[in-house]
Symmetry: C2
Subunit: 229 residues, 2 copies
DNA sequence: TTACACCTTATGTCTATATCTTTCAGGATC
DNA sequence: GATCCTGAAAGATATAGACATAAGGTGTAA
């Protein structure tokens, strides 16, 4: 095969990192690049499209392509299932259901999940252990109007996350990360001191516009989330 | 134009979310799909390639394409420059340099940055304010062996991040998120109580294998990082 | 039975060409 | 001078056809 889109992409990227193409400068158009690389326009297009997706360059019809002044930095972060996460650490995973109760949605939750006034939710509290030590505390609410079968499900052995993934895969979600001080209950579950700084994740999940579940995941002391780019 | 790759992608995704294509099941090959959609193979290929990138399906030469049992969930997270981040909130941004000192690298830093024994670093402490209120505390070390020009740079008006982005764009990095308790110094800078749970980001940056900089960014109380997928 | 070579198949990529879409720029009109 | 129209430029995408590559499957030989 002749010149691949990977070679073109790598070559352009090399020129940029070496400073031969400086930030803000305009690049030749696709036709000219194809001619200079001795390949077809489609090949150049794919290379350039990927560079644009990577936030390295900026493309606009008619205006042409230029090297970004402030490259968009983004990371791709995997959202693991907690059991998987723990086993990947080489630790033994254990799950325990603490509480499971169907109830009317409290006001703060109704607002956050955009529930109707009489919607009911299933409130679950669970613990996840790594090698016997507390790893993650899970506080979850499932919208029973959207997923009535949750009420008949037994969560003593199967975690709600696992059940949800197999029941309603391919959902949309919003995730947020922040720090919280451990309250009395959490510090008890996670075997830490009240007031300890803990890493917490919140996740809201939708399926075709309907709110399915809201979950707060609080991690043991010292937990880190790490990413590359 | 006839059938677009977006339409094909959307249609396949719809079939999957509706359960018409169940997790684990095999899909028709590209030639057959192209025939059934009445488009060319390249069009189907692009739709399927993107679905695979999105972690929805799994493709293997010869073995064919199947719907993932456990879809890979990932988010694409933008790493903003703090000034940008604050202005996007609609607040006024202010930067202040607290301290800037060239010094031999302490042991813990030498280990983390993989520095040589006699490498020197530039240690910077800065504050970032939103509408006059403390927003982020920055503790940064720059490897002077890799970037000697940093020692002659005046950081009183230009933040080190901004300077680095314009001096060495397009680097590799590792980022981690976690929670920390505010120590005496930090609580003073961020105007919070000692022991408060704060969100902290650490970032290590490389250029062509050389460690450039390590930074700890500590945010004001209640800071959240939010993402969609 | 195991190991290896070989064939087949599905995806991966390139070429060449064409059309579509967005958007900038210049000119006509009010 | 402001507004609207129109043409052209450049990227976005579709097509048909070809070859490349990886890997499952099968048959043969050890």
């Amino acid at each position: 095969m002749s010149v691949t889109y990977r070679e073109v992409k790598a070559d352009i990227l090399r020129q940029i990192t070496r400073g031969e193409l400086s930030p803000g400068s305009a690049m030749p158009n696709e036709v000219d690049l194809a001619a200079s690389y001795g390949c077809s326009r489609a090949t150049v297009n794919r290379a350039m499209r990927e560079l644009a997706e990577d936030g390295i360059i900026e493309r606009r019809r008619k205006a042409g392509t230029r090297v970004r002044r402030n490259p968009i930095r983004h990371v791709r972060m995997n959202i693991p299932i907690v059991g998987q996460e723990i086993e990947d650490l080489g630790a033994a995973y254990r799950y325990a259901l603490v509480q499971c109760k169907a109830e009317p949605a409290p006001n703060w939750l109704r607002a956050r999940m955009a529930l109707k006034h009489d919607d009911r939710v299933l409130h679950l509290t669970c613990m996840h252990y790594a090698d016997g030590a507390p790893y993650q505390h899970e506080d979850r609410w499932i919208n029973l109007s959207a997923l009535p079968e949750a009420e008949q499900t037994d969560f003593t052995n199967v975690g709600p996350n696992e059940w949800l993934v197999s029941t309603v895969p391919f959902t949309d979600a919003q995730i947020s990360f922040h720090a919280v001080a451990a309250n009395a209950a959490i510090s008890d579950y996670l075997e830490c001191t009240e007031g300890d700084a803990l890493f917490q994740t919140e996740r809201m999940t939708w399926l075709e516009g309907r709110t399915i579940t809201f979950v707060q995941l609080t991690y043991r002391r010292g937990h880190r989330v790490t990413m590359q780019y």
